[in-house]
Protein backbone atom coordinates (compact mmCIF):
# COMPACT_ATOMS: atom_id res chain seq x y z
CA UNK A 1 0.00 0.00 0.00
CA UNK A 2 2.91 2.33 0.81
CA UNK A 3 4.25 2.19 -2.75
CA UNK A 4 0.82 3.00 -4.26
CA UNK A 5 0.35 5.86 -1.80
CA UNK A 6 3.76 7.19 -2.84
CA UNK A 7 2.80 6.92 -6.50
CA UNK A 8 -0.55 8.61 -5.83
CA UNK A 9 1.19 11.46 -4.01
CA UNK A 10 3.62 12.00 -6.90
CA UNK A 11 0.73 12.00 -9.34
CA UNK A 12 -0.99 14.71 -7.30
CA UNK A 13 2.16 16.84 -7.56
CA UNK A 14 2.32 16.26 -11.31
CA UNK A 15 0.01 19.15 -12.16
CA UNK A 16 0.89 21.43 -9.29
CA UNK A 17 -1.34 24.36 -10.22
CA UNK A 18 -4.48 22.27 -10.68
CA UNK A 19 -3.85 20.29 -7.52
CA UNK A 20 -3.17 23.49 -5.58
CA UNK A 21 -6.50 24.99 -6.66
CA UNK A 22 -8.29 21.81 -5.56
CA UNK A 23 -6.38 21.69 -2.28
CA UNK A 24 -7.18 25.35 -1.63
CA UNK A 25 -10.87 24.73 -2.33
CA UNK A 26 -10.87 21.85 0.15
CA UNK A 27 -8.68 23.73 2.66
CA UNK A 28 -10.70 26.96 2.62
CA UNK A 29 -13.94 24.97 2.80
CA UNK A 30 -12.55 22.98 5.70
CA UNK A 31 -11.46 26.14 7.54
CA UNK A 32 -14.85 27.77 6.91
CA UNK A 33 -16.67 24.82 8.45
CA UNK A 34 -14.36 24.40 11.44
CA UNK A 35 -14.21 28.13 12.19
CA UNK A 36 -17.98 28.41 12.03
CA UNK A 37 -18.28 25.30 14.19
CA UNK A 38 -15.86 26.87 16.68
CA UNK A 39 -17.90 30.08 16.68
CA UNK A 40 -21.15 28.16 17.16
CA UNK A 41 -19.58 26.10 19.94
CA UNK A 42 -18.46 29.26 21.76
CA UNK A 43 -21.86 30.90 21.21
CA UNK A 44 -23.61 27.84 22.65
CA UNK A 45 -21.24 27.97 25.60
CA UNK A 46 -22.06 31.65 26.13
CA UNK A 47 -25.79 31.03 25.83
CA UNK A 48 -25.54 28.11 28.22
CA UNK A 49 -23.69 30.22 30.77
CA UNK A 50 -26.23 32.98 30.24
CA UNK A 51 -29.12 30.58 30.85
CA UNK A 52 -27.63 28.61 33.73
CA UNK A 53 -25.83 31.43 35.52
CA UNK A 54 -27.14 34.69 34.06
CA UNK A 55 -30.84 33.82 34.11
CA UNK A 56 -30.26 31.75 37.25
CA UNK A 57 -31.97 28.68 35.80
CA UNK A 58 -29.34 26.33 37.19
CA UNK A 59 -29.13 23.02 35.36
CA UNK A 60 -32.40 21.53 36.52
CA UNK A 61 -35.60 23.04 37.84
CA UNK A 62 -37.93 20.87 39.88
CA UNK A 63 -41.65 21.66 39.84
CA UNK A 64 -44.31 19.85 41.73
CA UNK A 65 -46.25 17.61 39.38
CA UNK A 66 -49.01 19.66 37.72
CA UNK A 67 -47.50 23.09 38.33
CA UNK A 68 -46.62 23.72 34.70
CA UNK A 69 -50.18 22.96 33.52
CA UNK A 70 -52.39 24.16 36.36
CA UNK A 71 -50.09 26.03 38.72
CA UNK A 72 -51.33 29.50 37.86
CA UNK A 73 -54.97 28.50 38.50
CA UNK A 74 -54.41 26.90 41.87
CA UNK A 75 -50.91 27.83 43.00
CA UNK A 76 -51.11 26.64 46.59
CA UNK A 77 -52.00 23.13 45.47
CA UNK A 78 -48.98 22.83 43.20
CA UNK A 79 -46.30 24.62 45.21
CA UNK A 80 -43.82 22.99 47.54
CA UNK A 81 -44.70 23.24 51.21
CA UNK A 82 -41.98 24.07 53.74
CA UNK A 83 -41.77 20.42 54.67
CA UNK A 84 -41.46 19.38 51.06
CA UNK A 85 -38.83 22.01 50.37
CA UNK A 86 -36.64 20.56 53.12
CA UNK A 87 -37.27 16.98 52.01
CA UNK A 88 -36.63 17.59 48.29
CA UNK A 89 -33.56 19.72 48.95
CA UNK A 90 -32.09 17.04 51.21
CA UNK A 91 -32.78 14.25 48.70
CA UNK A 92 -31.33 16.21 45.79
CA UNK A 93 -28.25 17.44 47.64
CA UNK A 94 -27.41 13.88 48.67
CA UNK A 95 -26.39 13.26 45.07
CA UNK A 96 -22.64 13.53 44.55
CA UNK A 97 -22.84 15.63 41.38
CA UNK A 98 -25.20 18.24 42.86
CA UNK A 99 -23.62 21.46 44.10
CA UNK A 100 -26.81 22.89 45.54
CA UNK A 101 -30.61 22.79 45.44
CA UNK A 102 -32.35 26.04 46.28
CA UNK A 103 -36.04 27.02 46.45
CA UNK A 104 -37.26 29.96 44.39
CA UNK A 105 -40.48 31.76 43.79
CA UNK A 106 -41.49 34.01 40.91
CA UNK A 107 -43.76 36.94 41.59
CA UNK A 108 -45.32 39.58 39.37
CA UNK A 109 -47.09 42.81 40.14
CA UNK A 110 -46.58 46.54 40.12
CA UNK A 111 -43.59 48.60 41.21
CA UNK A 112 -43.89 52.23 42.11
CA UNK A 113 -41.41 55.00 42.86
CA UNK A 114 -44.16 56.95 44.62
CA UNK A 115 -45.11 58.88 41.50
CA UNK A 116 -45.51 56.32 38.70
CA UNK A 117 -46.03 52.55 38.63
CA UNK A 118 -45.27 49.86 36.14
CA UNK A 119 -45.42 46.09 35.95
CA UNK A 120 -42.60 43.82 37.05
CA UNK A 121 -41.63 40.17 37.13
CA UNK A 122 -39.36 39.20 40.01
CA UNK A 123 -37.45 36.15 41.02
CA UNK A 124 -37.31 35.45 44.74
CA UNK A 125 -33.98 33.81 45.54
CA UNK A 126 -31.83 32.92 48.51
CA UNK A 127 -28.93 35.40 48.11
CA UNK A 128 -26.17 33.03 49.18
CA UNK A 129 -27.38 30.28 46.82
CA UNK A 130 -27.94 32.77 44.04
CA UNK A 131 -24.33 33.91 44.30
CA UNK A 132 -23.23 30.28 43.98
CA UNK A 133 -25.36 29.84 40.85
CA UNK A 134 -24.13 33.10 39.34
CA UNK A 135 -20.51 32.14 39.94
CA UNK A 136 -18.23 33.94 37.49
CA UNK A 137 -21.20 35.57 35.77
CA UNK A 138 -21.27 38.31 38.42
CA UNK A 139 -17.87 39.49 37.25
CA UNK A 140 -19.08 39.47 33.64
CA UNK A 141 -22.14 41.60 34.42
CA UNK A 142 -21.38 43.50 37.65
CA UNK A 143 -24.14 45.11 39.69
CA UNK A 144 -24.23 48.84 40.18
CA UNK A 145 -24.65 49.06 43.95
CA UNK A 146 -25.03 46.14 46.36
CA UNK A 147 -26.24 42.61 45.66
CA UNK A 148 -29.18 40.99 47.48
CA UNK A 149 -28.47 40.24 51.12
CA UNK A 150 -30.11 38.15 53.84
CA UNK A 151 -29.35 40.99 56.24
CA UNK A 152 -31.66 43.39 54.43
CA UNK A 153 -34.55 41.25 53.22
CA UNK A 154 -36.50 44.26 51.85
CA UNK A 155 -33.59 45.21 49.61
CA UNK A 156 -34.11 44.41 45.91
CA UNK A 157 -32.19 44.50 42.62
CA UNK A 158 -33.73 46.31 39.63
CA UNK A 159 -32.97 45.66 35.94
CA UNK A 160 -31.31 48.68 34.35
CA UNK A 161 -34.01 49.87 31.93
CA UNK A 162 -36.74 49.56 34.56
CA UNK A 163 -34.53 51.48 37.00
CA UNK A 164 -34.09 54.21 34.39
CA UNK A 165 -37.85 54.49 33.68
CA UNK A 166 -38.65 54.87 37.38
CA UNK A 167 -35.49 56.80 38.21
CA UNK A 168 -34.57 54.20 40.80
CA UNK A 169 -30.96 54.24 41.92
CA UNK A 170 -29.20 52.29 44.66
CA UNK A 171 -30.35 53.59 48.04
CA UNK A 172 -33.73 54.85 46.80
CA UNK A 173 -37.03 53.55 48.22
CA UNK A 174 -40.22 52.42 46.52
CA UNK A 175 -43.20 50.12 46.80
CA UNK A 176 -44.01 46.77 45.19
CA UNK A 177 -47.55 45.45 44.97
CA UNK A 178 -48.94 42.03 44.09
CA UNK A 179 -51.89 39.78 44.71
CA UNK A 180 -51.30 37.23 47.43
CA UNK A 181 -52.02 33.59 46.71
CA UNK A 182 -55.42 34.04 48.35
CA UNK A 183 -56.21 36.96 46.03
CA UNK A 184 -55.71 39.90 48.41
CA UNK A 185 -53.75 42.94 47.26
CA UNK A 186 -50.49 43.30 49.15
CA UNK A 187 -47.99 46.13 49.09
CA UNK A 188 -44.52 46.25 50.62
CA UNK A 189 -41.88 48.91 50.97
CA UNK A 190 -38.54 48.15 49.41
CA UNK A 191 -35.11 49.67 49.01
CA UNK A 192 -33.12 49.48 45.80
CA UNK A 193 -29.81 47.80 46.63
CA UNK A 194 -28.45 47.42 43.13
CA UNK A 195 -29.13 47.92 39.45
CA UNK A 196 -28.17 45.13 37.08
CA UNK A 197 -28.09 44.27 33.40
CA UNK A 198 -30.25 41.23 32.69
CA UNK A 199 -28.37 40.83 29.40
CA UNK A 200 -31.51 41.00 27.29
CA UNK A 201 -33.46 43.98 25.94
CA UNK A 202 -36.64 41.97 26.40
CA UNK A 203 -36.23 41.62 30.17
CA UNK A 204 -34.21 44.69 31.16
CA UNK A 205 -37.38 46.79 31.41
CA UNK A 206 -39.37 44.53 33.73
CA UNK A 207 -37.15 42.29 35.85
CA UNK A 208 -36.57 42.54 39.57
CA UNK A 209 -34.81 40.29 42.00
CA UNK A 210 -36.06 39.78 45.57
CA UNK A 211 -34.82 37.76 48.46
CA UNK A 212 -36.77 34.54 48.82
CA UNK A 213 -38.26 35.72 52.14
CA UNK A 214 -39.37 39.06 50.65
CA UNK A 215 -41.05 37.32 47.69
CA UNK A 216 -42.80 34.89 50.04
CA UNK A 217 -44.01 37.79 52.18
CA UNK A 218 -45.37 39.63 49.12
CA UNK A 219 -47.34 36.52 48.16
CA UNK A 220 -48.15 35.90 51.85
CA UNK A 221 -46.97 32.31 51.71
CA UNK A 222 -44.26 30.05 53.07
CA UNK A 223 -44.26 27.88 49.97
CA UNK A 224 -41.89 27.68 46.98
CA UNK A 225 -42.75 27.49 43.30
CA UNK A 226 -39.69 25.52 42.27
CA UNK A 227 -36.37 24.16 43.38
CA UNK A 228 -33.39 25.04 41.24
CA UNK A 229 -30.52 22.53 41.07
CA UNK A 230 -26.92 23.35 40.18
CA UNK A 231 -24.66 20.51 39.01
CA UNK A 232 -20.89 20.31 38.85
CA UNK A 233 -21.02 19.61 35.08
CA UNK A 234 -23.72 20.61 32.60
CA UNK A 235 -23.17 17.40 30.64
CA UNK A 236 -24.65 15.44 33.54
CA UNK A 237 -27.96 17.29 33.21
CA UNK A 238 -29.97 14.59 31.42
CA UNK A 239 -28.62 11.74 33.51
CA UNK A 240 -29.31 13.62 36.72
CA UNK A 241 -32.85 14.42 35.61
CA UNK A 242 -33.53 10.67 35.29
CA UNK A 243 -31.93 9.93 38.66
CA UNK A 244 -33.81 12.67 40.49
CA UNK A 245 -37.16 11.90 38.83
CA UNK A 246 -36.97 8.34 40.10
CA UNK A 247 -35.67 9.32 43.49
CA UNK A 248 -38.39 11.90 44.10
CA UNK A 249 -41.12 9.60 42.80
CA UNK A 250 -39.86 6.85 45.11
CA UNK A 251 -40.01 9.33 47.99
CA UNK A 252 -43.67 10.02 47.24
CA UNK A 253 -43.13 13.51 45.79
CA UNK A 254 -44.07 13.30 42.13
CA UNK A 255 -42.33 16.12 40.31
CA UNK A 256 -41.69 17.48 36.86
CA UNK A 257 -38.08 18.31 36.14
CA UNK A 258 -37.08 20.70 33.37
CA UNK A 259 -33.58 21.19 32.07
CA UNK A 260 -31.99 24.58 31.57
CA UNK A 261 -32.23 24.33 27.77
CA UNK A 262 -35.91 23.45 27.90
CA UNK A 263 -36.59 26.55 29.97
CA UNK A 264 -34.36 28.86 27.95
CA UNK A 265 -36.42 29.41 24.81
CA UNK A 266 -33.78 31.76 23.41
CA UNK A 267 -31.10 29.06 23.62
CA UNK A 268 -33.28 26.52 21.82
CA UNK A 269 -34.15 28.94 19.03
CA UNK A 270 -30.58 30.13 18.50
CA UNK A 271 -29.39 26.53 18.49
CA UNK A 272 -31.95 25.61 15.84
CA UNK A 273 -30.99 28.61 13.71
CA UNK A 274 -27.25 27.91 13.94
CA UNK A 275 -27.92 24.26 13.15
CA UNK A 276 -29.60 25.27 9.89
CA UNK A 277 -26.83 27.75 8.96
CA UNK A 278 -24.19 25.12 9.71
CA UNK A 279 -25.97 22.56 7.54
CA UNK A 280 -26.23 25.12 4.74
CA UNK A 281 -22.49 25.97 4.86
CA UNK A 282 -21.60 22.29 5.12
CA UNK A 283 -23.66 21.47 2.02
CA UNK A 284 -22.00 24.26 0.03
CA UNK A 285 -18.52 23.04 1.02
CA UNK A 286 -19.57 19.48 0.29
CA UNK A 287 -20.57 20.41 -3.27
CA UNK A 288 -17.33 22.41 -3.78
CA UNK A 289 -15.17 19.52 -2.54
CA UNK A 290 -16.99 16.95 -4.68
CA UNK A 291 -16.92 19.10 -7.81
CA UNK A 292 -13.25 20.09 -7.38
CA UNK A 293 -12.17 16.51 -6.78
CA UNK A 294 -14.26 15.06 -9.61
CA UNK A 295 -12.90 17.74 -11.97
CA UNK A 296 -9.27 17.21 -10.93
CA UNK A 297 -9.48 13.44 -11.07
CA UNK A 298 -11.45 13.53 -14.33
CA UNK A 299 -8.72 15.65 -15.93
CA UNK A 300 -6.06 13.34 -14.50
CA UNK A 301 -7.76 10.29 -16.02
CA UNK A 302 -8.00 12.03 -19.38
CA UNK A 303 -4.35 13.11 -19.35
CA UNK A 304 -3.06 9.78 -18.15
CA UNK A 305 -5.11 7.52 -20.40
CA UNK A 306 -2.03 6.08 -22.12
CA UNK A 307 -0.40 5.51 -18.73
CA UNK A 308 -3.51 3.66 -17.57
CA UNK A 309 -3.22 1.47 -20.68
CA UNK A 310 0.45 0.83 -19.91
CA UNK A 311 -0.28 -0.14 -16.31
CA UNK A 312 -3.05 -2.46 -17.47
CA UNK A 313 -0.71 -4.00 -20.08
CA UNK A 314 1.85 -4.57 -17.32
CA UNK A 315 -0.79 -6.58 -15.49
CA UNK A 316 -2.46 -4.11 -13.12
CA UNK A 317 -6.06 -5.19 -12.64
CA UNK A 318 -9.06 -2.90 -13.03
CA UNK A 319 -9.40 -2.85 -9.26
CA UNK A 320 -5.79 -1.67 -8.97
CA UNK A 321 -6.39 1.25 -11.36
CA UNK A 322 -9.53 2.22 -9.43
CA UNK A 323 -7.63 2.03 -6.16
CA UNK A 324 -4.81 4.20 -7.47
CA UNK A 325 -7.13 7.01 -8.54
CA UNK A 326 -9.33 6.70 -5.47
CA UNK A 327 -6.17 6.95 -3.37
CA UNK A 328 -5.24 10.15 -5.16
CA UNK A 329 -8.70 11.54 -4.36
CA UNK A 330 -8.34 10.51 -0.72
CA UNK A 331 -4.91 12.13 -0.51
CA UNK A 332 -6.33 15.34 -1.96
CA UNK A 333 -8.89 15.27 0.86
CA UNK A 334 -6.20 14.58 3.47
CA UNK A 335 -3.76 17.27 2.31
CA UNK A 336 -6.60 19.77 1.75
CA UNK A 337 -7.88 19.09 5.27
CA UNK A 338 -4.41 19.54 6.75
CA UNK A 339 -4.06 22.85 4.91
CA UNK A 340 -7.49 23.77 6.24
CA UNK A 341 -6.39 22.88 9.77
CA UNK A 342 -3.40 25.22 9.48
CA UNK A 343 -5.64 27.99 8.11
CA UNK A 344 -8.15 27.35 10.91
CA UNK A 345 -5.41 27.59 13.56
CA UNK A 346 -4.03 30.80 12.02
CA UNK A 347 -7.43 32.55 11.89
CA UNK A 348 -8.25 31.27 15.38
CA UNK A 349 -4.97 32.70 16.73
CA UNK A 350 -5.54 36.09 15.03
CA UNK A 351 -9.10 36.36 16.38
CA UNK A 352 -7.90 35.33 19.83
CA UNK A 353 -5.20 38.01 19.72
CA UNK A 354 -7.39 40.77 18.27
CA UNK A 355 -11.00 39.83 19.06
CA UNK A 356 -13.57 41.96 17.23
CA UNK A 357 -16.76 42.80 19.16
CA UNK A 358 -20.37 42.78 18.04
CA UNK A 359 -23.83 43.05 19.58
CA UNK A 360 -25.88 39.92 18.93
CA UNK A 361 -29.62 40.37 18.39
CA UNK A 362 -31.54 40.53 21.65
CA UNK A 363 -28.50 41.36 23.77
CA UNK A 364 -27.98 44.74 25.33
CA UNK A 365 -24.19 44.96 25.28
CA UNK A 366 -21.44 44.10 22.76
CA UNK A 367 -19.65 40.78 23.17
CA UNK A 368 -16.23 39.74 21.83
CA UNK A 369 -16.24 37.38 18.85
CA UNK A 370 -14.64 34.23 20.19
CA UNK A 371 -13.98 30.96 18.43
CA UNK A 372 -13.44 27.64 20.18
CA UNK A 373 -10.73 25.26 19.06
CA UNK A 374 -12.60 21.95 18.93
CA UNK A 375 -10.08 19.15 18.16
CA UNK A 376 -12.77 16.44 17.97
CA UNK A 377 -14.70 18.42 15.36
CA UNK A 378 -11.50 19.08 13.37
CA UNK A 379 -10.55 15.38 13.47
CA UNK A 380 -14.07 14.32 12.48
CA UNK A 381 -14.11 16.74 9.56
CA UNK A 382 -10.67 15.54 8.38
CA UNK A 383 -12.01 11.97 8.23
CA UNK A 384 -15.23 13.18 6.65
CA UNK A 385 -13.43 15.12 3.87
CA UNK A 386 -11.03 12.26 3.17
CA UNK A 387 -13.95 9.88 2.72
CA UNK A 388 -15.82 12.48 0.67
CA UNK A 389 -12.83 13.06 -1.67
CA UNK A 390 -12.34 9.32 -1.91
CA UNK A 391 -15.99 8.89 -2.86
CA UNK A 392 -15.80 11.79 -5.33
CA UNK A 393 -12.75 10.17 -6.98
CA UNK A 394 -14.52 6.84 -7.40
CA UNK A 395 -16.49 7.97 -10.47
CA UNK A 396 -13.42 9.00 -12.51
CA UNK A 397 -11.48 6.08 -11.01
CA UNK A 398 -14.07 3.58 -12.24
CA UNK A 399 -14.06 5.29 -15.62
CA UNK A 400 -10.27 4.92 -15.73
CA UNK A 401 -10.43 1.23 -14.82
CA UNK A 402 -13.10 0.43 -17.40
CA UNK A 403 -11.11 1.78 -20.33
CA UNK A 404 -10.23 -0.58 -23.14
CA UNK A 405 -6.50 -1.33 -22.89
CA UNK A 406 -5.86 -1.08 -26.63
CA UNK A 407 -7.77 2.19 -26.93
CA UNK A 408 -5.96 3.56 -23.87
CA UNK A 409 -2.54 2.61 -25.27
CA UNK A 410 -3.39 4.32 -28.55
CA UNK A 411 -4.65 7.48 -26.82
CA UNK A 412 -2.78 10.66 -27.73
Amino acid sequence: MKKWTKLALRNILRNKRRSLVTLLAIGVGFAAITLFYGYVSRTFWGLRQSAVQGEGLGHLTIYKDGWLEKGKLDPERYMFSQEEIVKVTKLVESEHDVILATPQIQVSGLISNGIVSTIFIAQGVIPKDDRTIKGTWEAFRPIDGEPLSDKKTYGIEVAQDLARYLNLKPGKDGVVMASTLSGQMNAMDMEVLGVYDSGSDATNDKYLRFTFDFAQSLYDTKMAEKIVVLLDDWQKTEAMRRVLSKKLADAGIPCQIKTWNELSLFYSKVRGMFGMIFLFIFCIVLVIVIMSTVNTMGMAVLERTREIGTLRALGLKKRGVSLLFALEGGLLGLIGSLMGTVLHAAVWAIIRRFPPTYTPPGLSTPVPLTIDLVPQAVATLVICLILLSLAAAIIPARHAAKQNVVAALGHT
Binding site: L13, R14, R306, L311
Partner: protein, 228 residues
Protein backbone atom coordinates in the same frame (compact mmCIF):
# COMPACT_ATOMS: atom_id res chain seq x y z
CA UNK B 1 3.78 -27.30 -26.90
CA UNK B 2 4.12 -24.03 -28.80
CA UNK B 3 4.45 -20.83 -26.81
CA UNK B 4 1.80 -19.15 -28.97
CA UNK B 5 -0.77 -21.01 -30.99
CA UNK B 6 -3.26 -19.01 -33.07
CA UNK B 7 -5.82 -20.74 -35.25
CA UNK B 8 -8.33 -19.05 -37.54
CA UNK B 9 -8.00 -15.72 -35.76
CA UNK B 10 -10.25 -12.97 -37.00
CA UNK B 11 -10.58 -9.49 -35.58
CA UNK B 12 -13.21 -6.97 -36.63
CA UNK B 13 -13.46 -3.34 -35.54
CA UNK B 14 -16.57 -1.23 -35.76
CA UNK B 15 -15.98 2.32 -36.92
CA UNK B 16 -19.46 3.77 -36.78
CA UNK B 17 -21.50 1.85 -39.35
CA UNK B 18 -18.40 0.40 -41.01
CA UNK B 19 -16.87 -2.93 -40.02
CA UNK B 20 -13.09 -3.10 -40.47
CA UNK B 21 -11.69 -6.62 -40.85
CA UNK B 22 -8.25 -6.16 -39.27
CA UNK B 23 -7.38 -9.86 -39.27
CA UNK B 24 -9.18 -12.27 -41.62
CA UNK B 25 -8.16 -15.70 -40.37
CA UNK B 26 -4.62 -15.96 -39.11
CA UNK B 27 -2.86 -19.20 -38.20
CA UNK B 28 0.43 -18.75 -36.41
CA UNK B 29 2.62 -20.83 -34.12
CA UNK B 30 5.53 -19.37 -32.19
CA UNK B 31 8.01 -21.57 -30.38
CA UNK B 32 10.13 -20.58 -27.37
CA UNK B 33 13.36 -18.56 -27.89
CA UNK B 34 12.34 -17.28 -31.34
CA UNK B 35 13.20 -13.74 -32.50
CA UNK B 36 10.32 -12.90 -34.80
CA UNK B 37 9.34 -9.81 -36.69
CA UNK B 38 5.90 -9.12 -38.09
CA UNK B 39 6.10 -6.80 -41.04
CA UNK B 40 3.84 -5.43 -43.68
CA UNK B 41 2.33 -2.15 -44.89
CA UNK B 42 0.38 0.20 -42.61
CA UNK B 43 -3.09 -1.17 -41.87
CA UNK B 44 -2.05 -4.75 -42.60
CA UNK B 45 -2.93 -5.82 -39.02
CA UNK B 46 0.52 -5.96 -37.36
CA UNK B 47 -0.44 -4.08 -34.19
CA UNK B 48 -3.75 -5.97 -33.95
CA UNK B 49 -1.87 -9.25 -34.12
CA UNK B 50 0.54 -8.13 -31.39
CA UNK B 51 -2.34 -6.92 -29.19
CA UNK B 52 -4.07 -10.29 -29.49
CA UNK B 53 -0.90 -12.24 -28.71
CA UNK B 54 -0.27 -9.88 -25.78
CA UNK B 55 -3.76 -10.61 -24.39
CA UNK B 56 -4.68 -6.93 -24.31
CA UNK B 57 -7.35 -7.49 -26.95
CA UNK B 58 -9.80 -10.29 -27.75
CA UNK B 59 -10.27 -11.93 -31.15
CA UNK B 60 -13.66 -11.90 -32.84
CA UNK B 61 -13.19 -15.49 -33.94
CA UNK B 62 -10.61 -18.26 -33.64
CA UNK B 63 -8.57 -19.79 -30.85
CA UNK B 64 -5.56 -18.38 -29.10
CA UNK B 65 -3.35 -20.28 -26.67
CA UNK B 66 -0.50 -18.63 -24.78
CA UNK B 67 1.74 -21.10 -22.95
CA UNK B 68 -1.04 -23.67 -23.28
CA UNK B 69 -3.69 -21.38 -21.76
CA UNK B 70 -6.81 -20.61 -23.80
CA UNK B 71 -6.82 -16.83 -23.54
CA UNK B 72 -10.43 -16.53 -24.73
CA UNK B 73 -11.72 -18.34 -21.65
CA UNK B 74 -9.91 -16.10 -19.18
CA UNK B 75 -11.58 -13.39 -17.14
CA UNK B 76 -10.16 -9.86 -17.25
CA UNK B 77 -8.35 -10.43 -13.94
CA UNK B 78 -6.82 -13.72 -15.12
CA UNK B 79 -5.70 -12.11 -18.37
CA UNK B 80 -4.06 -9.33 -16.32
CA UNK B 81 -2.20 -11.98 -14.33
CA UNK B 82 -1.17 -13.75 -17.55
CA UNK B 83 0.23 -10.51 -18.98
CA UNK B 84 2.03 -9.71 -15.74
CA UNK B 85 3.71 -13.10 -15.37
CA UNK B 86 4.19 -14.33 -18.96
CA UNK B 87 4.41 -11.32 -21.27
CA UNK B 88 6.62 -8.25 -21.34
CA UNK B 89 5.75 -5.15 -23.39
CA UNK B 90 8.02 -2.67 -25.12
CA UNK B 91 6.26 0.31 -26.67
CA UNK B 92 7.24 2.59 -29.50
CA UNK B 93 6.84 5.64 -27.24
CA UNK B 94 8.56 3.87 -24.29
CA UNK B 95 5.49 4.48 -22.06
CA UNK B 96 7.45 4.91 -18.85
CA UNK B 97 5.60 6.34 -15.84
CA UNK B 98 7.01 9.87 -15.69
CA UNK B 99 6.72 10.30 -11.91
CA UNK B 100 8.79 7.17 -11.24
CA UNK B 101 12.56 6.77 -11.47
CA UNK B 102 14.15 4.21 -13.80
CA UNK B 103 14.42 1.79 -10.88
CA UNK B 104 10.82 2.32 -9.78
CA UNK B 105 9.58 1.85 -13.36
CA UNK B 106 11.34 -1.50 -13.57
CA UNK B 107 10.06 -2.48 -10.11
CA UNK B 108 6.47 -1.78 -11.19
CA UNK B 109 5.59 -5.17 -12.82
CA UNK B 110 7.20 -6.97 -9.88
CA UNK B 111 5.16 -4.93 -7.39
CA UNK B 112 2.00 -5.55 -9.39
CA UNK B 113 2.83 -9.25 -9.12
CA UNK B 114 3.03 -8.83 -5.34
CA UNK B 115 6.78 -9.08 -4.82
CA UNK B 116 8.19 -7.46 -1.69
CA UNK B 117 9.98 -4.12 -2.11
CA UNK B 118 13.30 -5.75 -1.32
CA UNK B 119 12.89 -8.52 -3.88
CA UNK B 120 11.54 -6.13 -6.53
CA UNK B 121 14.44 -3.75 -5.97
CA UNK B 122 17.00 -6.53 -6.23
CA UNK B 123 15.60 -7.88 -9.50
CA UNK B 124 15.09 -4.42 -10.99
CA UNK B 125 18.67 -3.43 -10.19
CA UNK B 126 19.90 -6.60 -11.86
CA UNK B 127 17.82 -5.94 -15.01
CA UNK B 128 18.93 -2.32 -15.18
CA UNK B 129 22.53 -3.54 -14.90
CA UNK B 130 21.94 -5.93 -17.80
CA UNK B 131 20.74 -3.12 -20.05
CA UNK B 132 23.68 -0.93 -19.00
CA UNK B 133 21.78 1.59 -16.87
CA UNK B 134 23.24 0.81 -13.48
CA UNK B 135 24.32 4.44 -13.14
CA UNK B 136 20.94 5.90 -13.97
CA UNK B 137 18.66 4.09 -11.56
CA UNK B 138 17.40 7.24 -9.83
CA UNK B 139 16.86 9.24 -13.00
CA UNK B 140 13.32 10.13 -13.97
CA UNK B 141 12.38 9.44 -17.64
CA UNK B 142 12.43 13.13 -18.64
CA UNK B 143 16.10 13.30 -17.66
CA UNK B 144 17.04 10.38 -19.94
CA UNK B 145 17.64 10.11 -23.67
CA UNK B 146 15.30 8.14 -25.95
CA UNK B 147 17.71 5.21 -26.05
CA UNK B 148 18.05 5.16 -22.28
CA UNK B 149 14.30 5.28 -21.87
CA UNK B 150 13.86 2.38 -24.28
CA UNK B 151 16.45 0.39 -22.35
CA UNK B 152 14.51 1.08 -19.14
CA UNK B 153 11.40 -0.18 -20.99
CA UNK B 154 13.28 -3.34 -21.98
CA UNK B 155 14.42 -3.87 -18.39
CA UNK B 156 10.82 -3.36 -17.26
CA UNK B 157 9.56 -5.86 -19.87
CA UNK B 158 12.05 -8.43 -18.57
CA UNK B 159 11.50 -7.77 -14.86
CA UNK B 160 9.15 -10.71 -14.28
CA UNK B 161 11.23 -13.08 -16.42
CA UNK B 162 8.52 -13.46 -19.07
CA UNK B 163 8.45 -16.18 -21.73
CA UNK B 164 7.50 -13.64 -24.38
CA UNK B 165 8.36 -10.00 -25.01
CA UNK B 166 6.17 -8.06 -27.42
CA UNK B 167 7.62 -4.93 -28.95
CA UNK B 168 5.60 -2.60 -31.16
CA UNK B 169 7.99 -0.66 -33.42
CA UNK B 170 10.70 -0.56 -30.70
CA UNK B 171 13.21 1.42 -32.77
CA UNK B 172 10.85 3.82 -34.52
CA UNK B 173 11.54 6.75 -32.20
CA UNK B 174 15.31 6.23 -31.99
CA UNK B 175 18.28 7.46 -34.00
CA UNK B 176 20.26 4.91 -36.03
CA UNK B 177 23.05 4.36 -33.52
CA UNK B 178 20.68 3.97 -30.58
CA UNK B 179 18.40 1.73 -32.64
CA UNK B 180 21.34 -0.52 -33.46
CA UNK B 181 22.28 -0.75 -29.77
CA UNK B 182 18.68 -1.62 -28.81
CA UNK B 183 18.52 -4.33 -31.50
CA UNK B 184 21.82 -5.77 -30.27
CA UNK B 185 20.55 -5.76 -26.71
CA UNK B 186 17.27 -7.53 -27.54
CA UNK B 187 19.09 -10.11 -29.67
CA UNK B 188 21.59 -10.73 -26.89
CA UNK B 189 18.84 -11.27 -24.33
CA UNK B 190 17.06 -13.58 -26.74
CA UNK B 191 20.15 -15.68 -27.28
CA UNK B 192 21.38 -15.59 -23.67
CA UNK B 193 18.11 -16.10 -21.75
CA UNK B 194 16.05 -17.83 -24.46
CA UNK B 195 13.30 -15.19 -24.24
CA UNK B 196 11.00 -15.05 -27.25
CA UNK B 197 10.79 -11.62 -28.87
CA UNK B 198 7.88 -10.77 -31.14
CA UNK B 199 7.84 -7.34 -32.68
CA UNK B 200 6.38 -5.30 -35.47
CA UNK B 201 8.79 -3.16 -37.40
CA UNK B 202 9.66 -1.45 -40.63
CA UNK B 203 13.30 -1.14 -39.63
CA UNK B 204 15.40 -3.07 -42.15
CA UNK B 205 18.29 -3.37 -39.66
CA UNK B 206 15.98 -5.18 -37.32
CA UNK B 207 14.42 -7.28 -40.07
CA UNK B 208 17.92 -8.40 -41.04
CA UNK B 209 18.56 -9.78 -37.56
CA UNK B 210 15.40 -11.83 -37.00
CA UNK B 211 15.17 -15.62 -36.95
CA UNK B 212 11.78 -15.58 -38.57
CA UNK B 213 9.74 -13.11 -40.55
CA UNK B 214 5.95 -13.02 -40.64
CA UNK B 215 4.60 -11.04 -43.56
CA UNK B 216 1.10 -9.62 -43.15
CA UNK B 217 -1.05 -8.07 -45.82
CA UNK B 218 -4.70 -7.07 -45.57
CA UNK B 219 -5.15 -9.05 -42.37
CA UNK B 220 -3.70 -12.27 -43.69
CA UNK B 221 -0.30 -13.92 -43.33
CA UNK B 222 1.06 -14.09 -46.83
CA UNK B 223 4.38 -15.52 -45.77
CA UNK B 224 4.91 -17.36 -42.48
CA UNK B 225 8.62 -17.00 -42.97
CA UNK B 226 11.49 -19.23 -42.18
CA UNK B 227 14.45 -18.83 -39.85
CA UNK B 228 16.99 -16.49 -41.37
Amino acid sequence: MALIEMTGIKKDYHLGETVVHALRGVDLQIEGAEFIAVWGPSGSGKTTLLNLVGAVDEPTEGSLFVNGTDVRTLSDNRRSELRNKTIGFIFQGFNLVPVLSALENVMLPLQIKGASDREARKKALSRLGEVGLGEFIHHRPFKMSGGQQQRVAIARALANEPSLVIADEPTANLDSETARMIIDLMRELNEKDGITFLFSTHDQRLLDRVSRLVHLEDGLIVDGGTRS
